[in-house]
Symmetry: C2
Subunit: 273 residues, 2 copies
């Protein structure tokens, strides 16, 4: 059986831990993979823990008990989050992003894995302590971001549909009023998808008046579950009357200016961190 | 400025490389982060490369030239892929997954980040050599899987919608015939989302007759772009007449048996690998 050097072991341990955020990995996995004693692996983990902490790349926690081990919790420095938000603003004001109806074209951003991954880590870091069961989103544009947050928190993703689908079994549908357009819309969720008494967060691409978020709160009530937090990439602060009070955003959208350009700034969240 | 030991540097390098699949990272990033000479970093990278290769966890490639550096290419062993497919079959035959219409309930699987990540690495490994520009999917259930594949290949995700949306600007819509139900359906894609002359792969959750895949081929023609490959999680082999000849799947669905249970086996793809 192969013997591995410390350098090699920390490489493998880093990859396995960081690819499984918020999942407890038993040390036996590592002792068997590297054919090494538990004490040796424990020393390796100290190196990984200290390095990730030094580099503001998240942290490694020890989980005690029979089912114990170590787990990686994602993280990012305040400075890096702010730089990300500033760069995102620059991208969003560039080019011909304003489309008829004074919308801002963001589809390419929401489907860019590099951007979505970074935004996902920032949002997940905020909700790390809530100990939630599900990350909920509404189709379609916010799905990749919500998926990244769910992955970083080590929980299941739940996607609310606009219409019930035959492949999802029995569903619960509710009507809600879109806060900005005042239109009645429907959202629908498979009965099987959420267990009673669950704790959830809602992740989306864009927050206008918060009608969708209000709908999610009511939908979750049908599952006897509650919403503990809301995170969005962009918060439209031009829409002043909000149905929802507390939520976290990365970037603030201040509307389209007289020159036909979008105006954006980083969320003031990063000042408080 | 901090000095880092080799153990610490390989930890940081592993995290940065594996979190940015198929992206070329200039060695300057590492020399500045760790305050170390290029020759030292090169030695560190040799360790990371050899370890990941030894553990069948992907590979590290050197990219020559001024814009050069190193990049991580995801990978997984044939044995691990097969074990994953076998375990997935076990999960899919369990419990009350058969829903009216002889569908199999897979929503929880498609939204489980741990499963989706592993399936994404397996599919991305197959398409690594194609040098594609986009990973395309159709909303909704295949989005997390397609996102993972796009992330692993370091390219943009493209999500085809069922209806045009106001927030996506001008769109191209086509009609296609669903191969199994023979119904006419519509798919729609924003003009801005794909550049002319692009190479794409199509990723989805489930392949029945291949009507959707045929639709994607025709839609891509409108963008003067071509489809180079198709990958799905589950291939329904009960539907014998397929509109598409070549595609890769992880699991084969053989229908519902007399006892009302789904029958599944790992795809024979893993035998050939």
């Amino acid at each position: 059986m192969n013997k591995y050097s410390r350098n090699q072991r920390v490489t493998g341990i880093t990859k396995i831990l960081t690819e499984n955020p918020n999942k407890t990995i038993n040390l036996k996995i590592f002792t068997e993979l590297f054919n090494a004693a538990k004490s040796t692996i424990s020393e390796d983990i100290v190196i990984v823990r200290e390095t990730l902490s030094d580099l503001s790349m998240g942290r490694v926690e020890t989980v005690a008990g029979a089912a114990g081990g170590v787990k990686y919790i994602c993280g990012v420095s305040n400075q890096e989050s702010k730089i990300f938000a500033e760069e995102l603003c620059k991208v969003l004001v560039q080019g011909d992003r304003v489309i008829p109806g004074n919308f801002i074209y963001m589809t390419d951003i929401m489907y860019n894995p590099e951007i979505v991954h970074k935004a996902g880590v920032i949002l997940a870091s905020v909700f790390n302590e809530l100990d939630i069961d599900y990350v909920v989103t509404v189709e379609t544009k916010g799905i990749p971001l919500a998926y990244e947050v769910a992955k970083m928190l080590g929980v299941q993703l739940v996607i609310v549909r606009r219409d019930p689908k035959v492949t999802e079994g029995s569903t619960v549908s509710i009507n809600y009023v879109s806060g900005s357009s005042n239109r009645i819309q429907t959202m629908s969720l498979s009965r099987k998808s959420i267990k009673k008494g669950s704790k959830c967060i809602f992740i989306d691409d864009f927050m206008k008046a918060g009608g969708t978020a209000t709908g999610i709160i009511n939908l979750l009530k049908e599952f006897e579950s509650e919403l503990l937090g809301i995170g969005v990439l962009v918060n439209d602060i031009e829409t002043r009357h909000k149905l929802i009070e507390e939520y976290m955003s990365i970037v603030l959208f201040k509307g389209i200016n007289d020159e036909g350009k979008a105006e954006l700034t980083p969320s003031n969240f990063f000042e408080k961190m």
